[in-house]
Symmetry: C2
Subunit: 441 residues, 2 copies
Amino acid sequence: MPRTEPARGMRDFLPEDIRRREYVIGVIRRVYERYGFEPLETPAVENLETLMGKYGEEGNQLIFKILKRGEHEASGQADLALRYDLTVPLARVVAQYQSKLPRLFKRYQIQPVWRADRPARGRFREFCQCDVDSLGSTSPVIEAEVCAAVSDALTELGFTDFIIRLNHRQLLTSILNAAGIAESLHGTALVAVDKLDKIGPDGVKGEMRARGVESAAAARLLELFELLTKQRDQTRNVLGDEAGLAAFENVEAIFAHSQGTSAATRLRFDPSLARGLSYYTGAIMEITVPDLAGSLGGGGRYDNLVGMFLGQSVAACGFSLGLERILVVMGERGMFPPNLTTTAADVMMAVFDAADAPHALRVARVLRQCGLRVLVYPDADKIGKQIKYADSLAIPFVAILGGNEIAAGTVTVKNLSAQTQATYDQAAAGGAILEELRQRG
Amino acid sequence: MPRTEPARGMRDFLPEDIRRREYVIGVIRRVYERYGFEPLETPAVENLETLMGKYGEEGNQLIFKILKRGEHEASGQADLALRYDLTVPLARVVAQYQSKLPRLFKRYQIQPVWRADRPARGRFREFCQCDVDSLGSTSPVIEAEVCAAVSDALTELGFTDFIIRLNHRQLLTSILNAAGIAESLHGTALVAVDKLDKIGPDGVKGEMRARGVESAAAARLLELFELLTKQRDQTRNVLGDEAGLAAFENVEAIFAHSQGTSAATRLRFDPSLARGLSYYTGAIMEITVPDLAGSLGGGGRYDNLVGMFLGQSVAACGFSLGLERILVVMGERGMFPPNLTTTAADVMMAVFDAADAPHALRVARVLRQCGLRVLVYPDADKIGKQIKYADSLAIPFVAILGGNEIAAGTVTVKNLSAQTQATYDQAAAGGAILEELRQRG
């Protein structure tokens, strides 16, 4: 027999999974729309050249590549690839439809992406991202709004303990310079810095030395991170360069603009935050909760990415919530509303005799026209077996048609939990069931 | 500059497109749920071996294949593939989770599939299918229900002129036998028969002769099709074999069971209907409308497909609506409700001075808490330019904060279409705007 589990790192979603996913997506979408973001979708498949070189060297390797079709298939040449994130396709879309899109373009996009990553707990090869992005303005209003939007979304989902860490790519560069780390070592140093949460300051110092950063510079960098985390305003004294100071003023402006928003109590300056993706140019953000290694989402400003497709730069900034991580934490904490576990149907139609099945279908139609969800039991099994089946699926009502009912134009309705039953005119049964459902709450 | 259009045969969906897609998907989903179908989703990516050999020779060639990753990439070996339809993944899922699923499993699945087909009008390489399937029963109740479900969905979308053509794989085989066509030629003959709509009876006869079918047999087959289309009950006289007669009785039972459903006036017996996919074993169905070559959807019974994954056969029957075709016809006929073209926001927040932007974000929060969709204009452009921008996006209200308003805790609200304005306490503005929106209808 062939394998029947899904491909490695991929998942099937049974009805119960879908209801949870759709609940969370519904909340996020409603919040995003309240912020004036409009929906956008792009194809799962992009030209390979659109994606290559946008995510750094590691990203290139994790892109799923699709074989060129037809006679080229044998050569193993790839010309297409699966979407790796929602940001690069957005940049392509903005370049392609610039004349059709508003000057300030605010879009949300909730779609799966694919990465050939090593699967792990909460890390899959197909996973859903929930992105908001604003294009066309460099104002800190934009950063404040995307932070507020994701704060509202998480708050509405019931999260009370998340933090949005805020930093700035240029500020980080200036701090590395101030610590005395040569520009050529910034990349490798940041790989070490990125592990601060996992391996602690001493671990990071060790790793930086292994990567060729002088001990004194590494120590100075970690001191600076500690100092600036505690006393943000010291940044002005520590940094000598204009670009770094401008970046810090941008961070300050984001804090000031967030003052009256839901993000006000969430934002924390974190001078050590690096973010992996290579396209960020300004502010960078990441959301964490205490009981999850890794983040619930992240984002930042990327003013040059659209320019790679358009030839002229377009200001851009966004935030991406990771649906899978949110679901993992909500599941572990029991944060889903109890009424998500609906049954497949409100009513099951049962018949005594196979010859009566057409009548069952007709009465089912009448009940559906009242808005009820009706499952027609397809086989003329013993009536006890049919009722048992409805009970096993937690379907609350069984509507039974026998010869007497059909002759009289009636239907008998059993309430399985109340263990009551009553016979109604076929046209009146739907209303009676709806009333009983309302009373159950 | 790199290309910015989507990959060949793929599409980007801008906000207006998405609203139409979501409207149609919403209607279909609600109807499917009313029939007791539960949601299921499977990954976009399947193991290649899961898909190969399930769709016939042409299907194998149209499957998008994904390169094995890592060091194997250079060899051009593929181990994964993009989902080609929703039926084969369903069969895999039923085999995998059999012990967790109810004995009668009714699921709907609305997801994209990918085929490396030659793109044409209404034919894309990424397209969305809306499937319902019932597993676990051979009763004609099942066929009647899937036909009724798709009928209800199309009717709710406003279609009044669709037809569900109904045939049976075994009946078709028996008719070919009765016409004197050798079993070995059935496959090639059906390829010709499949073109009946396009090239007419004489064209089909010509093509059948070219494919090695004797003229007399070809002529007899087309006569039989014509006779049985007009006088369905002649089938019993024409067919001599038991299997064909049983198939005909099954077709009759599907008609009888559909009598009281919304499909009653839609079903037409069409003895020439063949359907391309190789996994069908019983009844086959296809939906057509007069102004579209090709179908809006199709389905049938496939009692052996799950067995290819499970080793024991599971009765199964389903129907698939093609979202893209439905959208094409609805667009051409102007069938979308007018209120689908909503604007990006209800209110735009404007400020006179950049320093006031934090206040704009605070007041935007208050308005959003009333349920309003609010777009904050991010830059301190001249107020006339800001208002013009709101107007260009058809945003009906602009809320303006100047120094006076901020000092007084008020906000000035302009109704752009009525050309009126009023100043409210910031806490009262949301209610006032909602009231004006209600009056506009």
